[in-house]
C-alpha cells in the first residue's frame, strides 16, 4: 500500500512540478515551502494539544513526582521519597497495584478470546446474521453510570437477575459486590457483557481471509479445529496483537466502574476494588497530594511502557504479516 501511494504521489508531483516551473518560475514561494507552511498550519492544533496537554503535563508530573506539591504550597524537592513511600509506607498502594494486575490479567485474555469466539460465530452464513451482529454489538456502545447502576441491580445478591438465573441451576450465587472475593469477578462479568465491541474488529479482519485457503486446507483433509488454528488465527493475528496491546493499556486505566460501584471511590469491601487509578485519584483530588499522585502516574506510565515494549517484542514472534507487510 505504501509503495503504491508514493508512486502515484511522485508521479503527481512531477507533473505539477513541471507545470509550475513554466508558470511561476521563482515569482512565488517554492512548492515545498508552501507544502511546509500548509502542513504545519493544518497540524498546529494537534501540536498545541500535544505540547500543552501531553508532553508538557508529562514533564511537569515527572518534576512534581520528586516534590511534595499539593497545589497551594511551594514545591519542595524531596528526592525519591514519594517512590519510597509507595513501596514501604503506603499499604494501599500495594493493594491497588495487586487489584489492577488481577483485573488486567483476567480481563485481557477473557475479552480477547470472547471477541474472537464471537466473531467466528458471527462470520457464518446464517439467516438473521445482520440482526445478531447488531445485537451483540449493542452493549459495547452503552457505558457510563447508567450501565454501572444496571449491573449493581443485576448483581444484587438476593433479588438480582444474575443470582436468580444461577438459582435455576441450583447454584447459590455469591454476594458479588459485597464480597471481597467476588467484586473483581463481578466487574469481569460486566466487562464480558460488552465483548461485542472487540468482535467487530475481528469480524472485519475475518472477512478479509480468502476462502481459497480454507478450500485448499479442506482438500488436504483439515478439520474445523485445524483450520481455525492454522489458518484463521495466523491470518487475524495482527488484529489480535493490536487488540491485546490496546486493551492491556485500557484495562490498566479501570476507574469509572470502581468509582461508581463503590460509593464515590471508597474502594469497596476490603478495598478489593481499590484500583491503581482510584488510589491515584484519591491522593490527587481527595487529599490533594499532587506530588505523590504524580509519582504514581509516572510509575504507571513506566509499567505500561515496559509492557507495551514486551508486547511488541513478543508480537514479532507470533504475529503473521501477509507477504511480510502490514496488509
Amino acid at each position: 500500500m505504501k509503495s503504491y501511494d508514493t508512486t502515484i504521489a511522485r508521479r503527481g508531483t512531477d507533473i505539477a512540478g513541471e507545470k509550475e516551473k513554466k508558470k511561476t518560475a521563482g515569482k512565488r514561494l517554492s512548492r515545498q515551502t508552501r507544502e511546509n507552511i500548509f502542513g504545519y498550519l493544518f497540524i498546529s492544533p494537534w501540536i498545541i494539544g500535544f505540547l500543552g496537554l501531553t508532553l508538557g503535563p508529562l514533564l511537569f508530573s515527572l518534576f512534581a513526582s520528586f516534590t511534595d506539591y499539593n497545589i497551594t504550597s511551594k514545591m519542595n524537592f524531596i528526592g525519591l521519597d514519594n517512590f519510597k513511600r509507595m513501596f514501604t509506607i503506603d499499604d494501599l498502594f500495594k493493594t491497588s497495584l495487586w487489584n489492577t494486575l488481577y483485573y488486567v490479567l483476567f480481563s485481557v485474555p477473557l475479552t480477547t478470546a470472547g471477541a474472537i469466539f464471537l466473531s467466528v460465530l458471527l462470520n457464518q452464513k446464517i439467516k438473521g446474521m445482520k440482526f445478531f451482529r447488531t445485537l451483540y454489538y449493542l452493549p459495547a456502545i452503552l457505558s457510563g453510570v447508567a450501565v454501572y447502576f444496571l449491573w449493581m441491580q443485576l448483581l444484587s445478591p438476593s433479588t438480582g437477575l444474575v443470582n436468580t438465573f444461577l438459582g435455576w441451576f441450583g447454584i447459590e450465587g455469591p454476594a458479588w459486590l459485597f464480597d471481597p472475593e467476588w467484586t473483581k469477578p463481578a466487574l469481569l462479568l460486566m466487562k464480558m457483557w460488552s465483548v461485542g465491541g472487540g468482535m467487530l474488529l475481528y469480524l472485519a479482519s475475518l472477512q478479509g481471509v480468502s476462502s481459497s485457503m480454507y478450500e485448499a486446507a479442506e482438500l488436504d483433509g483439515a478439520g474445523a479445529m485445524q483450520k481455525f488454528f492454522y489458518i484463521t488465527l495466523p491470518m487475524i493475528s495482527p488484529i489480535i496483537f493490536f487488540d491485546v496491546l490496546t486493551s492491556t493499556i485500557g484495562s490498566f486505566q479501570i476507574f469509572q466502574e470502581a468509582y461508581v460501584m463503590t460509593e464515590n471511590g471508597s474502594g469497596g469491601p476490603g478495598n478489593s476494588l481499590l484500583f491503581y487509578n482510584l488510589h491515584m485519584w484519591n491522593n490527587a483530588f481527595e487529599v490533594f497530594d499532587m506530588g505523590y499522585a504524580s509519582a504514581m502516574a509516572w510509575l504507571l506510565f513506566i509499567v505500561v511502557m515496559i509492557l507495551t515494549v514486551i508486547n511488541m517484542k513478543l508480537g514479532k514472534k507470533w504475529v503473521h504479516y501477509e507477504g511480510g507487510d502490514n496488509k
Partner: protein, 289 residues
Amino acid sequence: MKTASAPKFYETKKFKEKVKQTIVFTVLLAGSVLILSPLWWMISTSLKSPAEIAQYPPAFIPSEFHFSNYVEAWKTAPFTRWAMNTFFIAFFGMVGSVLVNSLVAYAFAKIRFKGRNSLFMVVLSTMLIPGFVTMVPQYILFSKLGWVNTYLPLIVPAFLGSAFFIFLLRQFMMTIPNELIEAAVLDGANHLQIWWHIMLPLTKPALITVAIFSFNGAWNDLLGPLLYLNDESLYTLQIGLQTFKGTVQTQWHYLMAMSVMVLLPVVLLFFFFQKHFIEGSNIASGTKG
C-alpha cells in the same frame, strides 16, 4: 453442494453444513438472550413498584406498569438542565473533533511537508500513553487558567485533536487518489480550499463516524465532569445520575428509570447510524497491525 458419488445423506457436505448452521444459530440465539436480558431487566425494574422490586423471587414482568416512576424521578433532580448541559458539551466537542481532526488528518495524508512521517509516529505513540498519567498536571494547568467549574476543560481539548480520530481519518483519506488533489492544485486551489471543497465531502462517511464516536464519548464521560464541574447547575447527566443515587439511595425503580433515559439517546444514535459505528471499526482494523 455436489453429490458426486451419491453418499448417504448425512455424509453430504450440504447436510454437515446445515448441522453446523443450526448449532451456530442456536448458540447465537441463546447468547442473544444473555445479552438482552440485562436491558430488559432494567426496563422491567424501572416500571415496578418498590415493593415488587424487593419481592423474592423477582417478577420478570411487572404486575403493574408504573410509568409514573419516570416522571417522578425526572422531577426529583434538575435532569432537564443536566440533559441540556450534556448536549451542549457533546455538540461543541463533536464540531471541534470533526473539523480539527480532519484538518490535521488531511495534512498527514496529503500534504508533503517536512518531518511528516516522524510527526505521525508521534501521533500514533501518544495513543499508547494512559490518559491518567497526564490527568493531574492537566488539572493543575486548567485550574491555573481559571477554567475549573467551566465547560472549557471539557470542550477545548476536542479542538486540539485526538490521536485516534486523526489516525482513523488519515487512513480513510489515504484511499482517496492523489490525482484529485494534484488536479485541484493545477487549477490553482490551495490546500485549505481542497480540504473544504474536495476532502470534506469525500470523507463524509468517516466524518460521521468521528462525529458519533465523539458525541457518544462526551455523553458517557464521567471523569471529566467529575474533575472540573462543581456547581450542580453545570452538571452533566453522568455526574448528575451519580449524585442522584445519593438522593434517592436504593430506590431502584427511580435509578433504573433514569438510567433508561440516559441510555436512550445513545441507543437511538446507534440504531440510526449503525453503519457508521461499524465502519469506524472497519477502517481501524483494515490498516492497524
